[in-house]
Amino acid sequence: MNMKSMLGAFLALVLAVGGTAFLVARAAKAKPVSTTSAAPVPVNGVYRENPFPTVVEGPKSKVSVPEVNFKFGAMPLGEDRSHEFVFKNEGDGPLKLAKGPLMCKCTMPDVPDQEVKPGESLSIKLTWKPEETAEEFYKNAVIWTNDPENPQITLSVEGKVFEDPGASPRVYILGEIPWDKDFETSGHFATVSYKDMEIESCESSDPEHISATWSPEDASNFPQVEGALQSPIKSFAVNVKIAPNGQVGPFSGWLKLKLKNCIATEHKIDVFGNRAGPIAIHGPDYQASMSLIDLKRFKSAEGKKTRLFMFLAPFGEELKITEVVSKSNLLSATLAKKSQDGAEKERYELTIEAKPGAVVGTVFSVNAPDDLMIKTNHPKVPEILFKAKYIVQ
């Protein structure tokens, strides 16, 4: 072998080693992007990866999608909307398309199983059927292509979904209301589609204590906020009345507006509130519906404390405990004013304490609770009877 041929062989060897190393490195690098020999398998017609082999030589497709995002605008709940996206083949080879993942199964493009010849176009329909109202939605779907320059195209639709007809507010959360007298409040009910819609009647979960009346109102009274129907053509003021039932504590119910001249035959509005007595009591370990204080388990040597919060309208003097009566002699109570003078609602902190030293094994349960009577100087609430459950360890 002469010098020339040796040099040639050496150069060939260098190129061979370098080229091979590069090929191996490129193959390793390319592994995640579907150049593996195993063809991707669709699951329910959806390919997780691009199923088309890379076209290296010969005619190639060139996809053109003038519009990949479409805005549906505001749409009523219950309707579905579709849009056709146009895929044009501007290349010289056939264009192939395949369905990729859809966002939350919400959009359903139907990808025809056919090639798009050069110069021709194909439409893919994206349909969105919302299941709930949305101030804003954004859904997308991936379409794989065999265009080597543009293997993935993401189509998207966006818009808003409102309920028609709809109520504002959607749920009547009333907070604290007086326990001993009628309470009235009002909301709105409107439509953007049914100009002849009428409320025929109203059914209640508790007709004696929760009821409603309604009257037409200027449609502009319906609050114009995101997520609610926009520009209604007919609106009603819905007045809700909550009557006392002799008890304090949380309550819930519903009203069903019976409709006519409308696609919906009724509309349900949930109503929640809390009938508060002259003194409202809350706390993390307190269940108002049973007047139950839950001290849970505690060690005899340590005892246990919990804090309750009392809210009341000023009655001319500071609230005071005048006497505490504990059935077990284990519980005590102290009261401290926390709000500043002049507040619209006074706030007190009531500390209930199970004193250390109780007999280990003492058990008070929901069915057999300990009792704690607190007597006060409040003219309307001279006594408050609590029940308590706990286990002494």
Binding site: A16, Y138, P169, V171, I173, G175, E176, E226, A280, S289
Partner: protein, 571 residues
């Protein structure tokens, strides 16, 4: 030497040598071509990188559009990716060490576990906690986290269970290092007094440092309650971050019936200026606004108050993709919903790219379940069980009679006449629906926490519940001991309570004769057509979140059963 060896080589080997050289040359040529082709295709890689959120990291000088602009050419419209492997990418892959990371989440809507019942779905507090662990422990980055609010489910916020869940969420977020919670619609719908009660309990809890934050909300008519705080100044990574929050005008209507004595919400445009002034006095390195408002309104707020480096909106789409935008010098993005994402902002003060943004999807591939959250979940379920098994407790307080006025009698009563249908049901997954709450998912074997007393699970896994409201009907399933006849997802969940139907059929059987009008009406009332099942019945439980693979036509054969008519015609 070479010459000698060449000369003595047998002819066969010499031929082989030529072949070897030829192969080497071929490989060399192929390798060279491949090498050259790499450079010719390099620009496409660069474009792909440009399309990634990492390279879109905001520059204070370069505003970016809200979303990708509607493209007019394919080059602008497509991302050059051949597989959807973004979830498999490491988090914040290209970020250098930041001064600190701000993590913002929002609108969890009660999804403390992955959105829905399927583990394939994204989200969950346990995975979120693992993300924070990866950032703090693996990367050793300082991380500050805040939540915009909207932690609870709007539809169920009035149930007592929401208070228990709220406490669990607070513990979880505090444990993850969250240092502020904005007040959203759902928090305010808990009612201000309950909110204050929760605050008061937390305020004295050792190690709890996640107060409510709101610049424009006053609870119980008093600014001396100690909650919410108008803003917070937080130290992180040697930097000072000022955080505030607003409850916006667009959502006010949903809490408008709560009296002014309890809840006052000022216009953010009025409430923010003094708060911003107070924040600026602290000379913070970054100012952050959590806007519990629609995305449009939040965007307007960001424009009106350019003092903020970051504005996050609790409005917008539930799956916001990867978008963010720059409004002047302010980084603006939406939080996402259902706890599926965590928005990360890396801060690089003084650098050319002062902030980087990545919205991390909490998928099951990259994130493990943190055992600390599992412990909280166990405590939450224990508390639910304790209250659920207590008659008269608040968690059982909300209950209604079924709208038909009839009662639930149980599948055995149906089986007396509909034996074939009962047999189909007994062999279906519906029959084991309650048991599945105890057994759990196969992939969580050994880690599963019993959900048998969780109303949000029972509503679709037992009989006699309003599934969408998660409310038991007055005579619906309570527990195995109290209402054993209603175990599983039985006939009456689809057909309605059967007391009237059973009573009339028994009377007819005893008396004989032709069915009365009442009997015919009761038969009609319990009849469910396939069309009605598809439109109104199945979707109450098999919704997008809880049954993502649900396909009516595929599932229907599993539960379709003989009807009285089909049995008659078969005979």
């Amino acid at each position: 030497m070479d010459r000698f060896h060449t000369d003595v080589l047998p002819r066969r080997l010499r031929t082989g040598k030529v072949a070897l050289v030829a192969v080497i040359v071929l490989i060399a040529v192929a390798g060279t071509l491949a090498f050259l082709s790499h450079f010719s295709s390099a620009p496409s890689v660069a474009i792909a990188q440009d399309a990634s959120p990492k390279s879109k990291a905001p520059s204070k000088a370069t505003p970016t559009p809200r979303k990708a602009p509607e493209p007019t050419s394919p080059a602008a419209s497509v991302a050059k990716k051949n597989s959807l492997d973004s979830k498999a990418q490491p988090i914040v892959k290209d970020w250098p060490q930041p001064a600190f990371v701000l993590a913002i989440t929002g609108q969890m809507h009660g999804y403390i576990e992955p959105c829905g019942c399927s583990p394939r779905q994204s989200g969950g507090l346990a995975r979120r906690s693992d993300l924070f662990r990866q950032l703090r422990e693996d990367k050793k980055w300082p991380v500050l986290a805040v939540e915009t609010g909207g932690t609870l489910n709007y539809e169920r916020v009035t149930r007592h269970q929401s208070v228990l869940k709220f406490n669990m969420i607070l513990d979880a977020l505090n444990g993850m290092g969250y240092r502020g919670l904005g007040l959203g619609t759902e928090e305010l719908q808990l009612t201000p007094i309950k909110l204050f009660s929760v605050y008061s309990e937390r305020n004295v809890q050792e190690g709890f440092d996640m107060p409510f934050v709101a610049a424009n909300v006053v609870l119980l008519g008093s600014t001396d309650l100690g909650t919410p705080q108008a803003y917070r100044i937080l130290d992180i990574g040697g930097k000072k971050v000022a955080v505030t929050s607003i409850f916006g005008n667009e959502f006010k209507n949903e809490v408008s019936l709560i009296s002014k004595d309890e809840l006052t919400i000022a216009d953010p445009a009025v409430a923010l200026p003094p708060v911003i002034a107070a924040m600026k006095k602290e000379n913070p390195d970054a100012m952050v606004l959590m806007s519990y408002d629609s995305s449009e309104a939040s965007r307007a707020t960001a424009q009106k108050f350019p003092e903020f480096n970051v504005v996050v909106s609790a409005g917008g789409a539930d799956d916001p993709g990867e978008e963010y935008e720059m409004i002047g010098d302010t980084l603006f993005f939406v939080s996402g919903m259902k706890g599926k994402h965590v928005n990360l902002v890396g801060f690089y003060p003084g650098e050319k790219t002062p902030m980087r943004f990545e919205r991390v999807e909490l998928d099951q591939d990259r994130f493990k379940r943190d055992p600390a959250i599992r412990k909280l979940m166990q405590e939450y379920q224990d508390r639910l069980k304790e209250e659920w098994l207590t008659p008269g407790s608040e968690v059982r307080a909300f209950t209604f009679p079924h709208e038909s006025g009839h009662q639930f009698v149980g599948a055995k009563a149906c089986a007396e006449c509909h034996a074939s249908a009962y047999e189909v049901w007994e062999g279906s997954n519906h029959a084991n629906a309650t048991a599945s709450l105890l057994d759990g998912r196969p992939e969580e074997k050994g880690e599963w926490i019993d959900r048998t007393y969780d109303p949000e699970c029972l509503c679709c896994h037992a009989t006699g519940w309003d599934a969408s409201g998660a409310i038991p009907y007055t005579d619906g399933f309570i527990d195995e001991k109290t209402t054993p006849h209603l175990l599983g997802n039985q006939c009456e969940n689809c057909h309605g309570p059967g007391s009237e139907h059973v009573k009339l059929e028994k009377e007819l059987k005893a008396k004989g004769g032709a069915p009365s009008t009442a009997v015919a009406a009761s038969r009609k009332a319990v009849h469910v057509s396939k069309a009605n099942a598809e439109k109104k019945v199945c979707l109450k439980c098999h919704d997008f979140d809880n049954s993502p693979k649900f396909d009516f036509e595929k599932y229907w054969p599993d539960i379709a059963h003989p009807t009285p008519e089909s049995e008659k015609s078969a005979k």
